[in-house]
């Protein structure tokens, strides 16, 4: 979080690369694909034609072919870097359990496919490094007793290898990334409103970086392969080829064991203890009018709209998939019936969280604000996954924390202000673009800005609302913002007669 905070200062929250590591991975994939297509146009299969065609691109056509080759290499390496950081970040922030298990486990085969695609690419150049990769890969594969005779024999001596081998490798190097693209598509199937493109400024910046790198340190070959000479030493691409030195040190059996056990552990990680059971959202058909807002806003596609089952005069009803629901409450925030103003009967919205129902939330707000005193009484709506707001509670500050800031129906802000329960409202949660549940913070902002249903009513004075997004490490700046906001509220004075007239509301 500290690191993300620094990047916030450097890039701004909108361009912060740590918030879009996956999207950067996709972006690098496209650079690799486009540069690869160009290189393939000039690539020749055969010995020594493969080596010579790559040398032509690197030396004689350096101004485009050489740059494309370098982009191909560096973007591939950057993709691995993004992949590793993405995995570490999702793990560190506990974003792999519950409804996220699908994205997590579909990411595991992507690791294998990316590494295999990279390795097969290095074979094609047919330089000393390609020879090393070819020998090492086949020796590693030979440990698995499935081949009739050792496939490493293909690299025994110059007479053992022929041009058809390159045709096979070229096919593999094209097929594996295509399959990878398919898995990348599956990876996002449970992610609603997924972002696969980085912000434009970041995309331009990182592309310029790759271009400059390609010009300053162009990718080159390491001399033509010669099977009568051992390929040693070689300048390794450690992003892809780290497995071979490990096989030399620990032996192929240990390496295969490590790779499979590691992959298996990664696969079962979402179900490893400590298990965190959440109670999924529930739909109350009596209050659900099938408006679809909850289904649209759910970040994990956990809500489906199906044909009405209760005979009510609506076309659809919401159905929650309990296996996918993460109980973030964003659906509650999107429900037009989730309004604390309702006093007739029990406060039951169309969709609700059993662990923190809307009725409980109102009760907590009512109780907490009743004790407030002072010239600038504040109600702080916080998020369990961001800065803990409880520690800011005081005689003039009431707090309530929800699973996600996106759970807050805008009418709650109207409620506490128009009922004169407080003089100002503070809304906080994960930093911009950093929402634990991906979209809660974005949706809430849009609702407060009047760009998304349910909108904050126009009658609510905006100068009495502070949005201060803060992660767990941003306590100091948050406190500073609150202190300043208190001063502003004191200057505004107590909340006056700002109840709407019919004319005001009609204008909305």
């Amino acid at each position: 979080m500290w690191i993300e905070g620094w990047f916030d200062h450097i890039f701004g929250q909108k361009w912060n690369p740590t918030y879009c590591l996956g999207a950067l991975g996709y972006y690098y994939f496209w650079i690799v694909s486009i540069s690869g297509i160009y290189v393939y146009i000039f690539f020749d299969t055969g010995i020594p034609a493969a080596f010579l065609s790559v040398e032509y691109l690197t030396n004689e056509q350096w101004w485009l072919g050489g740059i494309m080759r370098s982009l191909h290499r560096y973007a591939s390496d950057a993709m691995v870097a993004m992949m590793v950081l993405h995995i570490i970040r999702e793990f560190a922030f506990d974003r792999y359990r519950g409804g996220r298990w699908f994205s997590w486990i579909t990411g595991i085969p992507m690791i294998w496919l990316i590494i295999i695609a990279g390795m097969t690419g290095y074979w094609l150049v047919w330089d000393v490094l390609a020879q090393y990769v070819g020998e090492s890969t086949t020796e590693l594969l030979d440990w698995i007793p499935i081949f009739g005779e050792p496939i490493a024999r293909n690299f025994l001596a110059p007479s053992h290898i022929d041009g058809r081998f390159f045709t096979l490798m070229t096919f593999t190097h094209i097929f594996v990334p295509l399959f990878l693209l398919f898995v990348m598509w599956i990876h996002l199937q449970r992610v609603a409103h997924s972002r696969i493109n980085p912000p434009r400024g970041l995309a331009i910046g990182t592309f310029i970086m790759l271009m400059v790198l390609s010009l300053v340190v162009p990718a080159t070959s390491q001399g033509v392969a010669d099977l009568s000479v051992a390929p040693s030493p070689v300048a390794l691409d450690w992003f892809y080829l780290w497995v071979f030195p490990l096989a030399d040190i620990f032996g192929p059996g240990m390496v295969w064991g490590g790779l499979f056990i590691g992959s298996f552990l990664l696969l079962i990680t979402p179900w490893l203890p400590p298990a965190k059971k959440v109670t999924p959202a529930i739909v109350d058909l009596g209050n659900c009018n099938g408006c679809t807002r909850c289904a649209v806003d759910c970040p994990f596609n956990a809500i489906a709209m199906v044909k009405r089952s209760d005979g009510a005069a609506f076309e659809h009803e919401a159905v929650v998939d309990p296996d996918v629901c993460v109980a973030c409450g964003i659906c509650v925030g999107s429900c037009p019936t989730a309004t604390p103003f309702r006093r007739a009967g029990d406060l039951v919205p169309g969709i609700d969280l059993p662990d923190l129902s809307l009725a409980t939330m109102r009760e907590k707000v009512d109780t907490a604000t009743a004790k407030l005193e002072g010239p600038a009484r504040l109600m702080v709506f916080g998020c369990d996954k961001a800065l803990k707001v409880d520690k800011f509670r005081g005689k003039d500050i009431a707090t309530i924390s929800m699973p996600c800031a996106g759970m807050l129906p805008p009418s709650f802000i109207d409620y506490v202000l128009s009922k004169k329960m407080t003089d100002g409202v503070v809304v906080t949660g994960c930093r911009r673009g950093e929402c634990h549940y991906r979209l809660g913070q974005i949706w809430l902002e849009e609702r407060l800005d009047g760009n998304r249903d349910p909108r904050l009513r126009k009658r609510v004075p905006r100068d009495r609302i502070l949005r201060s997004w803060a992660s767990a490490t941003d306590g100091r700046s948050f406190e500073k913002n609150i202190t300043k906001f208190k001063g502003d509220i004191e200057l505004l004075g107590p909340y006056g007669n700002e109840n709407p007239t019919e004319k005001d509301e009609a204008g909305q």
Partner: protein
């Protein structure tokens, strides 16, 4: 001013990432074979003689078979192990009895060995036995080779010709 500082800091991050990519995209070097050493790759896939030997079929037995199946000899499927040895200047580098592969032990015996040796002038001798003989080897090849540093010698085996092939 703040924005300029931001752009400078962004540049530093980009340069840092580029440096990281360049540092590990082609290096540090890795030496699989220590300096001043050479390599022998000793490998073959070879089927030894049948373990049970072969037997000529009688005329009656042949007539019982379909016309396209009438081979004069029947041999047992199971193969003998291949005994192999590789030595350098009289010192054994590798020695093994390679069992036949396959569910019925009727496949070839195979091996692939990488042996790192000091560079220089050496006498390499390869031995192979693929019959029931109790002593000695069926194939022996010897070669005097001056190994240059980093040189890779392949030793293969084929039943046709001289047996071992030094490449």
């Amino acid at each position: 001013m703040k924005q300029i500082m931001q752009y400078i800091a962004q540049g530093v991050v980009y340069v840092g990432f580029a440096w990281f990519l360049a540092s590990f995209a082609a290096g540090p070097d890795y030496a699989r074979i220590p300096e001043g050493q050479s390599l022998i790759k000793f490998s073959f896939a070879h089927s030894a003689k049948s373990k049970g030997g072969c037997r000529k079929l009688s005329q009656d037995e042949l007539m019982e078979l379909a016309p396209n199946m009438r081979k004069p000899e029947v041999c047992s499927r199971e193969r003998l192990p291949v005994s192999v040895k590789l030595s350098m200047d009289g010192k054994v580098l590798y020695e093994d009895d390679l069992q036949p592969t396959g569910l019925h032990s009727d496949g070839p015996s195979k091996t692939y060995q990488r042996i790192v040796i000091p560079s220089g002038n050496h006498t390499i001798t390869a031995y192979l036995k693929d019959t029931v003989r109790e002593e000695g080897f069926d194939y022996i090849s010897e070669k005097q080779i001056n190994f240059l540093p980093g040189q890779s010698l392949a030793i293969d085996f084929t039943r046709s010709g001289d047996g071992f092939i030094f490449e």
